[in-house]
């Protein structure tokens, strides 16, 4: 038996590649197009085989099952007598077997793992075909992508997530029902939202929290859940203030503890630029924040003006006279 690409997995892979660059519905549309192309191929195959069978006199018949779930074994009943050749053609399978007319033909669950359109063809002195659709099984896993992995606090519509439910065989479940999204920062719940999936995709978008730290994002459907972490980080420094004093070689200036406007400490390693201007010119030191404070030693003499900035955020100016 030869296995081909099956649409469920193709759909998932394409959706995975698409998520993050385009919206969930856009990914679904693209993948659905691929699915339709495959179905069109099988339809054409069916028409060709039916045309073939029409040219031969009908002497037997077969009845395909009306509803099949992926991975479940089913039977196809036949009429007539004698021997015949049975073909099963589907998204991930292409089988040929000898059968006795009048008996039921058993299809193994492993031949029906891939959701999509299947064709059953029975040939003896004439050929007959029937098609049936294999639907995805119940959701067994959630593909869940959350963006971004780091986000500044209090950024509006900055956190988004998309979830797709797949059955145990990797078929995208187009109607999994409602998926619940929960966002929790520490012990505080920031969001709990039930979202009905459309074409198998459910998504959310929300504002980041106000406290720096890990943000737990959970998507769940029934017993299934997928957990992701987003690092909420301090936003731009706010109210950057410096103090300084003269030393024997120049100046020592340092910031007060650097926070963003929500009061979160700006991470250590963030660069703070000190600029001192005196009669001999301008001196600058790009110093990283260490234990919440940035500190710099600057060679300067006489009256000096010291300013501070971090990124595009400016702080206060410090005027130090020559005698101080």
């Amino acid at each position: 038996m030869r296995r081909e690409n099956h649409p469920g997995r193709g759909f998932a892979a394409a959706a995975k590649a698409a998520v993050g660059r385009e919206s969930g519905s856009a990914a679904v549309n693209r993948c659905a197009t691929q699915n339709r192309i495959r179905l069109a191929f099988y339809f054409c195959l069916s028409v060709a085989l039916s045309t073939l069978s029409a040219s031969i006199s009908a002497a037997q018949d077969l009845r395909a099952p009306s509803a099949v779930t992926a991975g479940e074994a089913v039977s196809i009943s036949t009429t007539g007598s004698g021997k015949a050749t049975f073909y099963l053609v589907g998204p991930g399978v292409s089988n040929k077997s000898d059968v006795a007319l009048g008996n039921e033909i058993s299809l193994r669950g492993q031949d029906l793992r891939d959701a999509g359109q299947y064709f059953a063809i029975l040939c003896s002195d004439s050929c007959h075909s029937a098609s049936f659709f294999v639907a995805p099984a119940k959701p067994a896993s959630l593909a869940f992508l959350v963006h971004p992995s780091r986000v500044p606090v209090a950024a509006s519509d900055a956190v988004s997530g998309v979830a797709l439910a797949f059955d145990q065989f990797g078929n995208l479940n187009l109607d999994p029902g409602t998926i619940n999204f929960q966002l929790t920062a520490g012990k505080t719940s920031l969001l709990s939202r039930d979202v009905a999936a459309h074409d198998g995709v459910a998504w959310f978008r929300t504002t980041s929290g106000k406290s720096a730290g890990p943000l737990q994002v959970v998507a769940s459907i029934g017993e299934l859940s997928a957990r992701r972490n987003v690092q909420e980080v301090a936003s731009e420094p706010c109210n950057l203030r410096i103090a300084g004093q003269r030393t024997k070689d120049g100046l020592v200036v340092q910031t007060e503890p650097v926070h963003d406007c929500a009061g979160n400490p700006v991470p250590d390693g963030t660069i703070v630029s000190f600029t001192a201007t005196d009669a001999s010119g301008k001196s600058t030191v790009d110093a990283p924040i260490k234990h919440g404070i940035a500190r710099a030693e600057i060679a300067a003499s006489g009256p000096v003006v010291v300013s501070v900035a971090s990124g595009v955020a400016m702080g206060n100016e410090l005027h130090i006279g020559g005698g101080q």
Binding site: A143, D268, G269, K282, T284, A296, V312
Partner: protein, 379 residues
């Protein structure tokens, strides 16, 4: 037959003598001439200041250190090792990877007993050709001109332990077995905060500044595509070394992208492209840029000069200075860069200067300097 042979020998001797004299002669009063070289093994007498400097530079170029040191005046306050280090470099500095390719001499002043010669030295280096202007003072000693080599002030840093407690960022990549989407890390968020396109002496240039808005270090590269009126790309280039590629959180770097031979009048649009990726980095060393000011160099050109002060305990082998210059509206009107050819030792300072184009010197109102650094053994 004998007569013909004699004539040939005499003529050969005369021609060789003329050649030797010609190679050794310098025309006094010539302004700006290339430094030539004598025949191998034959160094012309230093009977003019220019010849003395020419001899010295030839010896340096050929790494004949004894001969070069012998061309110095007895009044020079330098020992041979220090003299040699000045030309050869040390501590993995840019000079250690450089070669003196050529020079051009220009007399500044001369009397019977002393003179000053200005030499424009052309170096080949791994970061491209570098020009250096140096003034040589000469005095006459025993009928010959000798170079007076000043004693360099070498920073004497006391032995000490410098604690390094700055942050370091490492990258851990997943092993690929994780659930899809569970271990994704976004690239750093960087932003072009300004961009300006101008015509330059060699063509055109696109310049501006980039900020790392993220909380993790970023490796940044900026590219630009010039587009004509029909929407067709004319050329695309990137910032190459005219940018500080590794940006710590909230750090700002200037960038400049050169488009040699392209006139901006043909350009309708500029497409900017900034690429950022995660990179391991360290917040150390911290290099202060002290006493920055714009003034004129010995050739009368506008330069931004200052001193780099290494505030850490780590040697910076090749410091690289990048400066952005702003007009009175705060717009970036030029970005210059320059390499310092001496290593920046711990707790010491080194002077630097970067050029400002003559046409823009009058428009510069303020400037911002960042220091990029290359240290041996670190990527």
């Amino acid at each position: 037959m004998k007569t013909i042979l004699t004539i040939i020998v005499v003529a050969t001797v005369v021609l060789v003598a003329v050649g030797l004299l010609g190679a050794g002669q310098t025309k006094s009063g010539t302004i700006g001439f290339a430094n030539g070289s004598a025949l191998p093994g034959l160094t012309p007498k230093a009977d003019t200041p220019e010849q003395a400097v020419t001899n010295l530079l030839n010896d340096v170029q050929k790494r004949r250190w004894d001969a070069a040191y012998g061309a110095l005046s007895k009044t020079s306050g330098v020992d041979e090792e220090t003299f040699r280090e000045e030309w050869q470099g040390s501590n993995g500095s840019l000079r250690t990877f450089s070669n003196l390719e050529g020079s051009e001499l220009r007399p500044v002043h001369a009397t019977n007993d002393d003179a000053q010669i200005r030499a424009r030295l052309r170096w080949t280096t791994p970061v491209g050709p570098i020009e250096d202007v140096r003034d040589f003072r000469l005095i006459r000693e025993g009928g010959l001109w000798k170079v007076v080599w000043p004693k360099q002030q070498v920073a004497n840093v006391p032995a000490q332990v410098v604690p390094v407690t700055y942050l370091r960022w490492d990258l851990v990549s997943g092993d690929g077995k994780d659930e899809w989407g569970a271990r994704n890390i976004d690239p750093p968020h960087v932003r072009i905060v300004s961009m300006n396109a101008v015509n330059s002496a060699e063509g055109s240039a696109v310049m501006g500044e980039v900020v790392n808005e993220d909380t993790v270090p970023a490796f940044v590269n900026v590219g630009a595509t010039l587009v004509d009126g029909g929407g067709n790309p004319i050329d695309d280039e990137n910032s190459f070394d005219k940018i500080d590629h590794v940006l710590l959180p909230k750090q700002i770097t200037p960038y400049r992208i050169d488009f040699p031979g392209i006139d901006l009048s043909k350009v309708k649009n500029v497409r900017m492209d900034i690429k950022a990726s995660l990179v391991p980095a360290s917040a150390d060393p911290v290099i202060g840029v002290m006493n920055q000011k714009i003034d004129a160099d010995v050739q009368g050109r506008s330069v931004l000069r200052g001193e780099l002060l290494n505030q850490s305990g780590q040697t910076v082998n090749i410091p690289h200075v990048i400066a952005s210059f702003y007009d009175n509206n705060g717009k970036v009107i030029w970005v210059s860069d320059g390499y310092v050819d001496r290593a920046l030792l711990p707790e010491t300072s080194e002077p630097f200067s970067v050029d400002i184009p003559r046409s823009l010197a009058g428009k510069v109102q303020s400037f911002h300097v960042v220091v990029n650094q290359y240290s041996l053994g670190k990527s």
